[in-house]
């Protein structure tokens, strides 16, 4: 399953860091962050609950860049 989320982040480099963090999160098959359009595209593993996974993604992203937000709700 693929979903696109709006995000907020301030700098291009931070967006790259978020991408790396999201990709390391369990349940995420592939994630890509587009700084210019402020969007995160996430492809989930089979049988996971996107909301739960996104919670973890946001937590991991906050770790690398606390000035960020993912609007997944």
């Amino acid at each position: 399953m693929k979903k696109t989320y709006k995000i907020y982040v301030d700098c291009a480099n931070c967006a790259n860091k978020m991408e790396v963090a999201a990709n390391k999160t369990e349940g995420v098959k592939e994630a890509s962050v587009n700084f210019m359009t402020l969007k995160m595209k996430v492809e989930f593993e089979e049988g996971v609950e996107p909301q739960e996974v996104m919670k973890e993604v946001l937590k991991n992203c906050k770790k690398v860049e606390d000035d960020c937000e993912i609007y997944y709700e």
Binding site: N13, N34, T37, K41, V64, E65
Partner: protein, 648 residues
């Protein structure tokens, strides 16, 4: 300006005022330290916090850490040696000015592109029992009738069931001439209804409609990273650690050498200061931000001109195009039959209008494309003339009685059938040239009352802008233009000659086109993939999906509403005007020029500063100016690509 940007601006102003005020304060170094900490923390607390978090989370070096190290180091130096805290605070201050500018510029161009691509419809009008009801276009089902009033955007693709209006398609195609639609016409979402009320029966869901698809495409385009962008992220990954290690070496090695080998004073302070300056310069922000911004703006600007580029990588490839392969029918020509010339036979007593008149009448009931072309050229076919005894002669043409005259219309065989010797009636070349050509062109012969009356030439017309397009492509640096066609050799060469294309491959089946493109691709081969010239194929997207995907860059023309073409192509021209191909190449060249300018300019200034700093000619002040200045210039330069669409 967002709330956060405004806050940052206030912080910067307050800190700057504090710094200026402190200029006149003289006190003990410890008092000064405390005083200077006020503006320093006001302007830099978030940087320090982020740096701290980065260390806690074991993040690799980032610019927050670099700036924190440099400024804290400078403060420590001031505390123990120089007593001048201004520098550290100013460095942090300018860094923040740069950050603010960067975030403002990116936000601004983001909304600029948003405005350019302002084709997303916000609502749809449903006709309810008590008047019109506005609903979310997502909720409208297929085959619902929606109402579009003057000034509104068409939200969903559909067919007009009632009303007529002229539509402004400029947001989709870049074309400023409005398009008129009537009942029964297909309309696509994103067009603006300028007058008249339209009732439209939707044929697609909102998500599948043209406007949504285009937006999706443009928004996703900047996710496909170009080689330049990848180069920059690789560069940044290597560059920062290299500079940090150099900084450490710069702080330690020279003093040690001075002490042990030269036996002079170590001057630790001087070298640590230089190392800190090194760190300030090391931030690669200018590159990291300006390159993706250039591509993003370039893609945005191009889409405004009706050129959709599906990714930064294609924009980059497009700038390297040296060979353009074009399909003939539908790309260079209209793909529709039209009467191109009428040649009455000498002495037969008919003028061109009369000849066309008779031909159109004789073909009154035929649905053949040639008959349609004749009727269209004549225009007012339903006049009072009598048409009787129509007889279709298979493989030859038609015989009919028009106003009492027996008219034979068809290929050269019909002339013989009518009992007229064609060679005698006209010049000899006629017979040789005649016949129905295999392709787009045909010559129609006419015999009236037993006498050869003349001929009408019908062909697939070359688009009025084709010649200009070929010329512009050559000017834009395309060295080879190749035309592929399934049509006969003669017709293909006639078109080639008129347009100035020398390399022509005719009589090709769709599969042959792929082979030809493969062959031409081999000619472009180069050991170095980055230097390799690229090959673009332009077609109308009908039947040429395999070729579109085989070429380095597939350009689909006139793709408005054609899903297959949008799917298969890398660059989609909303219009079917071939001049757009040249324009797309020019936009890509301009965009890449700006990208390279930024790469060389930023790296050049950085390296220069690093060198000057290592030998002590540049202080921290100059370093921060260079850093922020280069970034501002690079971002401004990148924003220029946004206007590439209108200026190219």
């Amino acid at each position: 300006m967002s709330k956060k940007q405004r806050n940052n601006l206030i912080r910067i102003i307050v800190a700057a005022l504090c710094l200026i005020a402190l200029h006149w304060v003289h006190a003990d170094v410890r008092v000064m330290f405390v005083l200077y900490m006020v503006p320093y923390l006001i302007v830099g607390y978030d940087i320090l916090r982020k740096a701290g978090k980065g260390i806690v989370n074991r993040q690799p070096l980032d610019e927050n850490l670099l700036m924190s190290l440099a400024t804290v180091g400078a403060i420590a130096l001031a505390l123990y040696k120089t007593g001048d805290f201004t520098e550290a605070v100013a460095v942090m201050l300018f860094y923040q000015v740069g950050e603010l500018f960067q975030s403002y510029a990116v936000g601004k161009s983001r909304s600029n592109i948003g405005e350019l691509m302002d084709i997303r419809p916000d609502y749809a009008n449903l006709e309810g029992e008590d008047g019109i009801e506005k609903v979310d276009p997502d909720e409208v089902e297929i085959r619902t009738v929606i109402v579009v009033q003057p000034g509104e955007k068409i939200p969903i693709d559909g067919i007009v069931v009632e009303g007529s209006a002229s539509l402004d398609t400029s947001a989709l195609t870049g074309e400023s001439v409005p398009r008129t639609v009537h009942t029964g016409d297909e309309v696509i979402s994103g067009c603006i209804n300028t007058n008249g009320v339209l009732r439209i029966r939707t044929t697609r869901e909102f998500d599948e409609s043209t406007a949504s698809k285009i937006l999706d495409l443009v928004e996703n385009a900047s996710s496909r990273k170009s080689r330049s962008e990848n180069f920059i992220s690789r560069f940044a990954r290597v560059y920062t650690p290299v500079v940090v290690i150099s900084a450490i070496l710069l702080a330690i090695l020279p003093p040690l050498i001075r002490m042990s080998a030269l036996g002079v004073v170590a001057e630790w302070g001087v070298w640590i200061y230089r190392a800190l300056t090194f760190l300030v310069i090391s931030c690669p922000c200018a590159l990291v931000i300006s390159i993706p911004l250039s591509f993003f703006a370039g893609i945005g600007g191009a889409s405004r001109a009706g050129i959709l580029v599906k990714g930064s990588n294609f924009l980059e490839d497009l700038s390297k195009v040296k060979t353009v392969v074009m399909d003939k029918t539908g790309t260079l020509t209209q793909g529709v039959f039209e009467v191109t010339s009428i040649e009455p036979a000498e002495g037969a007593g008919f003028d061109a209008a009369e000849l066309l008149h008779l031909a159109a009448h004789a073909e009154r009931h035929s649905s053949h494309p040639i008959a349609q072309a004749l009727r269209k050229a004549f225009g007012k076919e339903q006049d009072g003339c009598t048409v009787e005894e129509v007889e279709e002669i298979a493989g030859h043409g038609i015989r009919a009685k028009v106003d009492g005259k027996t008219v034979w219309v068809g290929n050269e065989k019909i002339v013989r059938l009518a009992g007229v010797d064609l060679a005698g009636a006209d010049s000899a070349e006629t017979a040789a040239e005649g016949n129905l050509l295999q392709d787009g062109a045909a010559v129609i012969y006419m015999v009236v009352d037993g006498r050869y009356a003349g001929r009408i030439r019908i062909s697939d017309v070359i688009k009025p802008t084709s010649a200009q397009a070929i010329r512009q492509m050559r000017e834009a640096g395309v060295s080879e233009i190749v035309m592929l066609t399934g049509d006969g050799k003669q017709a293909a060469e006639a078109v080639g000659q008129e347009l100035g294309i020398r390399k022509i491959y005719s009589e090709l089946l769709p599969a042959d086109k792929v082979d030809k493109v493969e062959e031409l691709l081999q000619e472009c081969e180069d050991e170095n993939d980055r230097r390799r010239a690229r090959l673009a194929f332009a077609g109308d997207g009908i039947n040429d999906a395999p070729v579109l995907s085989r070429a380095d860059i597939g350009i689909a023309m006139g793709a408005l509403g054609s899903d297959a073409a949008i799917e298969a192509a890398d660059v989609v021209l909303m219009d079917d005007d071939p001049v757009q191909i040249a324009k797309a190449i020019r936009i890509s060249r301009k965009c890449m020029r700006i990208v390279y300018e930024n790469i060389w300019f930023s790296i050049g200034v950085k390296v220069l500063c690093l060198l000057l700093c290592a030998i002590g000619l540049v202080g921290m002040w100059a370093a921060i100016f260079a850093d922020v200045g280069v970034m501002v210039l690079a971002v401004l330069n990148a924003i220029r690509t946004l206007f590439a669409g209108s200026s190219c």
